[in-house]
């Protein structure tokens, strides 16, 4: 048995207006993790979709265990032992966890599904994988992170020879990520070949046996374990050098105006007595484990979900917010953690998406929209954020995940809110672009805007936030100044489930 599992060469793929892949190649061995990196829109997902039978390739060949194969449908890929965790979630929200995992492969007697066997099988799988989920729970009741875990469980349930993971951790926090890494170790040991895509450099360092780099749809090179060095990789990816790991300058914020004051926010199911202040020119980080309630705080503040007993002051004045439109009218914008469901009009073009929140600015009093002015604005943002798109009239659905994220960011930048709540703003964004976004956030606060940044990446939280609010179990367990904060400290507060609270 040779060690080579998969050999891919000469793959090209073009979409209308885009050459997504040009003559790409790579090899995958048994029992190794091959990390695939590249900027947003480099073609990583497209390549994986070709391997999993979702896209058809224009040219090139795929050799699996020494034989050339044609993969023309997801089913064919499954049959060949290729399994994928999609970058964008692909679950049936109205079905349960177990039903989702085994869709198409239900244990049955004749035409009847054996429900008990199904749930039992799912329980076994989840236990084996160390994932804490009730197989009978409906997907729609799960958070994004838990949904991601279901995706992972589903992909692993195939006992595939080749397992593709397209940014599996983008919605996960440390603890789940840890679980996943343990699983990966186990799979490696049993000979599975894993293709791993991520924009998180620390993961890459930890996991990779080899790294293959793509840029602009072309194959750049492959590094063996011994040669893996992050700055080198980043340079291969983006073609220039990037500084990492800075911390914000300490700032004397205590005397600045409080622009947003939240007091006594409760929600029926989770949040208990949330109170905090946001000052002008401040980036206030929100850290916590999955399900700590950070997203729920944001949604409650902007009136997307109902809350109880909340007092909100903006610029010192009490306001009542029961709809997101009222929040925006008060200058509070919210960038959702889930761009596909809550952020984008996928079927509309980039221009429409960028202008969505600020359309009124381009509208005269008779309701007519000044199209030209709007388009100029969105072209500016496409340029400023380096959104990779054939034009502002391209359908947003066809952009790569990271570029879609940039479109959502552009939408809020265009709205020019004084207070911005960014929920996982860099989810799925490449290192280079991340730096740009960090720079952008810093510029915004320098202009006097204030930002709440919810992030599950602790380095990011530490890198940007002037102060850090830590949540656990629907409560605020601590507020730290950046100077006093460290990953360990944050984790400590994030796991405090009691009600002791420090200010």
């Amino acid at each position: 048995m040779s060690t080579q599992l998969l050999k891919v060469s000469g793959i090209s793929k073009s979409f209308p207006g885009v050459q997504a892949l040009k003559d790409v190649q790579f090899e995958l061995n048994r029992g190794e993790v091959l990390t695939l990196v590249g900027e947003n829109g480099a073609g990583k997902s497209s390549l994986m979709k070709i391997l999993s039978g979702i896209y058809s390739k224009d040219s090139g060949n795929i050799v699996l265990e020494g034989t050339e194969v044609e993969i023309d449908s997801p089913k064919a890929a499954q049959a060949l032992g290729i399994s994928i965790i999609h970058q964008e979630m692909n679950l049936m929200p109205h079905l349960t966890v177990a039903q989702n995992i085994y869709i198409g492969r239900e244990p049955r007697t004749g035409l009847f599904v054996r429900a008990r066997a199904l749930n039992q099988r799912a329980t076994e799988l989840l236990t084996r994988l160390g994932i804490d989920l009730d197989p009978r729970e409906l997907i729609e009741n799960l958070t994004v992170a838990k949904q991601q875990m279901v995706e992972i469980a589903k992909a692993l349930s195939f006992d595939a020879k080749v397992l593709i993971m397209d940014e599996p951790t983008s919605a996960l926090t440390e603890a789940e990520t840890e679980t996943l890494f343990n699983l990966i170790e186990g799979l490696k040991a049993s000979g599975t070949g894993i293709i791993y895509i991520s924009h998180r450099m620390d993961e890459l360092r930890r996991l990779s046996d080899r790294v293959t780099v793509l840029r602009d749809g072309a194959y750049i090179g492959t590094l063996d374990k011994a040669d893996i060095d992050i700055p080198t990789i980043i340079e291969m990816m983006v073609g220039r050098h990037i500084e990492e790991g800075a911390r914000p300058e300490a700032r004397q914020h205590a005397h600045d105006d409080v622009v947003l004051k939240v007091e006594g926010l409760n929600t029926r199911h989770l949040l208990k007595d949330i109170s905090f202040e946001l000052r002008r020119g401040e980036i206030l980080g929100f850290a916590g484990l999955m399900g700590a309630g950070r997203t729920e705080v944001a949604r409650a503040i902007i009136g997307a979900d109902p809350s109880e007993g909340t007092l909100i002051h903006i610029d010192g004045k009490p306001v009542k917010i029961s709809q997101p439109s009222e929040a925006v009218a008060h200058g509070v914008g919210y960038l959702s953690e889930d761009r596909k469901l809550f952020g984008l009009l996928l079927e509309q073009d980039v221009n429409t998406n960028i202008l969505l929140a600020s359309l009124a600015d381009y509208t005269n009093r008779f309701g007519f929209v000044n199209t030209e002015k709007g388009k100029r604005k969105s072209r500016d943002y496409v340029k400023a954020l380096r959104i990779k798109t054939p034009s502002i009239h391209a359908t947003t659905k066809n952009l790569s995940g990271g570029n879609q994220q940039k479109v959502v960011i552009a939408k809020w930048l265009a709205r020019d809110c004084d207070i911005l709540i960014f929920d996982e703003p860099t989810r799925g964004i490449d290192v280079g672009a991340k730096e740009e976004i960090y720079r952008l956030l810093n510029e915004l606060v320098a202009q006097g805007k204030s930002i709440i940044m919810i992030s599950s990446e602790l380095p990011e939280v530490l890198r940007l936030s002037h102060r850090i609010v830590v949540m656990a179990g629907g409560r605020i367990t601590g507020v730290l100044n950046n100077e006093d904060a460290s990953q360990a400290k944050i984790m400590d507060y994030a796991t405090r489930m009691g009600d002791e609270k420090e200010q």
């Binding site: 058809s56 997801p74 929200p93 039903q99 035409l111 599904v113 009741n141 659905k397």
Partner: protein, 339 residues
């Protein structure tokens, strides 16, 4: 291979946030049914008090009988609606099936069983064609079945020669709907309940039912999971067609004739019953029990208004208003549960 546009109709999360555990959602499903059920009970109580003639066995069995046809159509279309589709051809399709039954039994003098199966098969065939048009040719369900509705309507007229076909000569045909296998209960009602039981089993216990929900929930994800959604969609529309065919036989038997002009408008009534029963037009959600209750609400309401001698022109106003209230209660419940 191609990139099918993913329709964003069924967000993974409801807009108003997430809800608690599976017990909650289980209770919720029960609650929904019991709310529709409560509406039904309120209506029954109201009409019983308002008029003595209402709560008599004769009238109740009359109500059940009048639920039979719409109910059978609604059962079949529940599957289609759960996939996120719609079937507008069930009304006139039923008519075409009844006309074909007439052709088989009266004109061609085939044996009873053969003729009846032929009528049912006509329905299934129409369903199959709908499924093909929708799943393979990818026509929007609304328009594909609208076209089929027109075609079936025309064909029913053409094939029958624009006149009713009478089954007087066919021994035993009338008993299909009006015989009383269970004394006092017309067979049509029995057929309705049996079909409801079958539909319940199919929807909740079989692979077909599972894929019906899966497709309605996220068709693209289902397809990417290796399920042959085309095949299953064709199957689901064929099932709806089967029910349409059965409804055609039942109505023909009840009227002892195939009335080629009947049927237009039945589809809206059946769809209304399904939706009142809590099935979502967005797909992914629904139940057979709900549909049955929805159909009963409609026929109890109409019968009650008739028994109370409410003027015909007012009846529609009241039915419309009750539908609004019934569905509003449901919307309210959902909002409560969601917050």
């Amino acid at each position: 291979m191609n990139a099918t546009p993913v329709t964003e109709k069924s967000p993974l999360r409801k807009p108003d946030g997430r809800t608690a555990g599976s017990t909650r959602s289980f209770l919720r499903a029960k609650l929904q049914q019991s709310l529709a059920f409560a509406t039904l009970v309120v209506l029954l109580a109201f009409f019983s008090l308002a008029n003595d003639a209402f709560f008599t066995w004769s009238n109740i069995s009359g109500i059940l009988l009048s639920t039979a046809v719409i109910g059978i159509l609604a059962l079949g279309t529940t599957f289609v609606i759960i996939t996120g589709g719609i079937d507008l051809s069930i009304g006139t399709g039923m008519t075409l099936a009844s006309v074909m039954t007439g052709i088989f039994l009266v004109n061609m003098q085939l044996p009873l069983v053969v003729g009846v199966l032929g009528g049912i098969a006509t329905g299934a065939l129409m369903g199959f064609i709908n499924g093909f048009n929708i799943a393979v040719l990818r026509l929007p369900p609304f328009i594909a079945t609208l076209a089929m509705m027109l075609i079936a309507q025309g064909l029913a007229l053409v094939i029958s020669g624009v006149r009713p076909i009478y089954f007087s000569s066919v021994q035993g045909f009338r008993d299909i709907a009006l015989g009383t296998f269970i004394p006092g209960l017309p067979n049509a009602v029995l057929i309705l309940f049996l079909l409801a039981a079958v539909a319940y089993l199919v929807l909740s216990k079989t692979i077909l039912g599972r894929y019906t929900f899966a497709i309605g929930s996220n068709e693209e994800a289902t397809r990417l999971s290796g399920v042959d959604t085309r095949k299953w969609k064709i199957m689901i529309y064929t099932v709806a067609g089967l029910f349409t065919g059965i409804a055609g036989v039942v109505i023909a038997s009840r009227l002892n004739s195939a009335q080629p002009q009947l049927g237009a408008g039945y589809e809206l009534q059946a769809i209304a019953a399904v939706i009142i029963g809590g099935t979502s037009l967005l797909g992914g959600r629904g139940s057979i029990m709900g549909t049955l209750i929805g159909a009963l609400i409609m026929s109890v309401l109409i019968n009650g208004l008739r028994i109370m001698s409410i003027q015909t022109e007012w009846q529609n106003v009241v039915v419309g208003a009750v539908i609004l209230v019934a569905v509003f209660t449901d919307a309210l419940r959902q909002r409560r549960a969601g917050s």
